[in-house]
Symmetry: C2
Subunit: 141 residues, 2 copies
């Protein structure tokens, strides 16, 4: 069971925008450098995030991306849904049309994942980063 890098990259990119919230547009190049992500690939990920209303883009020189809402109002679930689609496993009924006795398990898994992802906001991640920084971890990613 493997989570795609899309989601992981997206969360880190938006975390970077969250850190700089209120400081004007951030060009992708800086996001990519700060978070050590492939810039060209990141570009692909921004389209759904923009269309989904999580970020706003500013074109042209001195342009870049801005978080569209307050970091406390953006959950990790929001990001994952836009980049990876529906959260959690499909049930057998959804996948094949035929219900199975295990469907309840897959539904419970989905609920459990959703709960965690909806319970974490970009503001939480920023707080966590601050906490680590104060404790001497120099990783700001």
């Amino acid at each position: 069971m493997h989570l795609s890098t899309r989601g992981r990259y997206g969360v880190r990119a938006l975390f970077e925008l969250a850190r700089r919230y209120g400081q004007g547009p951030v060009p992708l190049r800086e996001v990519a450098e700060a978070q050590n992500l492939p810039e060209n690939y990141l570009e692909q990920l921004m389209a759904p995030l923009r269309k989904g209303g999580l970020v706003q883009s500013v074109r042209g020189a001195q342009g870049g991306y801005v978080l569209a809402r307050d970091p406390a109002q953006v959950t990790v679930a929001d990001i994952i849904r836009l980049l990876d689609g529906p959260i959690g496993p499909e049930t057998d009924r959804e996948a094949t049309g035929t219900p199975s006795v295990a469907d309840g398990v897959w539904e419970a898994v989905r609920r459990a994942i959703t709960e965690v992802l909806e319970g974490t906001t970009l503001a939480d991640l920023c707080r966590e980063a601050d906490r680590r920084a104060r404790q001497g971890y120099m990783f700001y990613i």
Copy 2:
């Protein structure tokens, strides 16, 4: 986020063995028919399940597969681990070597999933199937 069919098929196959626990070896053909799964493919899935000690095989005529332990002692997590590998998403640290502020989220997701999957046994699924049967659902899968 898409769960492979390997895990889903495996759970249904072992559920079928659980239903018939104590009735001698069940040939794959019957498992495949009862659960409507491709037999040849199922064959592939049985190897890791056997090597992992969840089932025992009986070769030759009148042979088949037998659940190696009581259905109450086999969790869905056991099955998924053997067929799909480690449960849940990798952290950024595990995937890339560089820790990230989001690692805590991925770990929490992993714990949540694990908790659900370890909390469900084949015996639970059998009970659920009985319950459904009594309520008139004729699906025994």
